[in-house]
């Protein structure tokens, strides 16, 4: 089994600049690298960085780049880490790809936080990609949804069945 991980940015990859004037977080290298180091995985993988953006800033042009990265990926199993605010929009864009299994996931707290849900979320996507057939899915809050069967509850932040 080989999985291609695509970084687009979002909360999961946020870090805190150490020097000064720390008003904002910045998007650092893919959290997947650190998560897999701890996980001792028994599969091949490749991590590709396509974007380092908060998902509210992702443009249509950016989505074209993610789409292209999926098409030329060296495996038909792809996991995309993404900001949660526009995760569903990107999933919709990718739904035109029919011959791959693509799962989008993200986290509510940056992986750098001690109480982050990042390892868990990436774990759910990896567990599901072991057994899912082709299609585009979203892995959030411990659930795996086909991309067009999910919406976000704007009050709780949770992704729920539509």
């Amino acid at each position: 089994m080989k999985i291609v991980f695509i970084q687009t940015g979002g909360t999961i990859d946020k870090d805190y600049p150490m020097i000064k004037n720390g008003y904002a977080f910045e998007i650092a290298e893919s959290a997947v690298k650190r998560i897999l180091q701890k996980a001792n995985p028994n599969f091949d993988f490749e991590i590709i960085s396509v974007l380092k953006k908060d998902s509210l800033d992702i443009t249509e042009n950016d989505r074209e780049k993610i789409y292209a990265a999926c098409q030329k990926a060296s495996s038909d199993k792809i996991i995309i880490t993404h900001g949660t605010d526009t995760l569903i929009e990107t999933a919709k864009k990718l739904s035109a790809i029919k011959n791959k299994t693509i799962i989008l996931t993200g986290s509510m707290k940056p992986e750098k936080f001690a109480d982050s849900d990042a390892s868990f979320s990436v774990g759910t996507a990896i567990g599901a990609i072991n057994v899912l057939s082709n299609g585009v899915y979203i892995a959030m809050n411990g659930r795996i949804y086909p991309w067009n069967k999910v919406e976000r509850n704007l009050e709780t932040g949770q992704f729920v069945e539509k």
Copy 2:
């Protein structure tokens, strides 16, 4: 979706006694509780403690208890956390249960460790249980294996395809 989590002990639940003479660890409450607190899951769950044992100490009688707990569980989706040394033996015992989806998982480092793989492993089991049909499976090292298609590499500690 409802998942019943069954605690049997093992590395994942090990903690460090704070008072003194700290030669050994102790098996504490189920790590799943803390993992799900961070994960903000969108499913119902119940956590049942059947054993708190290192898996080398699990007896045939203990396996009967785990078997019974699976049979009377309030959901047909069951995730068992277990020490890795005899995970496969317990899976074999449970394989007589045909009408449920049972996944056994564990971790290489206790969940209490900052660099633990516990959240990741439990995540992979939860991701897989969203989509698997009935049967008994093992979720380790980022892979999901039918119970009788897996063995342990005693040098690396990894679970690999048989």
Copy 3:
């Protein structure tokens, strides 16, 4: 021994809002509470929240409030957690207080981060306050400086001897 801890905000107390639109952090409850829970300290303490501000936003009026809180504190040993950008300005303001031992400290990464220096920094302040006589001091980067013998290296972010 009794220590009064005064929260003013700053990086040390920053958390990440879980709901959505996570561009910014928020200043949450005092990190000192969580640090002392892990530390099992053998001294009495009280934690007072005076401000929850990034230190660039602290006004002269805010410094008056910190000053007043020090004057009426129930112990002559006081540790103030503070954003690093204007730590020295606040220390200068407090230097008029002659009959107490006041140490200001902070961290480069929020206490919520797995790789935070917050426990370490608060530890250095507590270690020093065990033995220091009256005066106003700054505890940063593993060093204890009298307030008027320290400046910040704006390139490295470190506090260094003046």
Copy 4:
């Protein structure tokens, strides 16, 4: 300022072997290295490993080695990390050294644990060594004690004034 850190082992340095049969912890490289990496310290330091033992296993011969390491240390500021069970015995042995500032410290939970007190404890020792004059001290539970003014409460595990 230069500090020499001496590793002797103990809870603070315990890790969990990843391969198998994980009944016990093992003593790994000095936790001080990782603590200082996070702390961005503004002082010179050297870390010397003299022993990697649970402190109940430290012999008179081992204490001679620690004594010798203190005598030939390249700074007169020395911090020793040590198991808590015989911390006071080692301190007594070292009390013959009159021309250095030596602080012994340790932790209740291994530094590898997410809820460890190790960074805090090492921080307290560093904070105190900035200001203490020559002598042998113990830094535990947020307190700094001269070596002969402290005893351990065997029920709570805390170090308290004698």
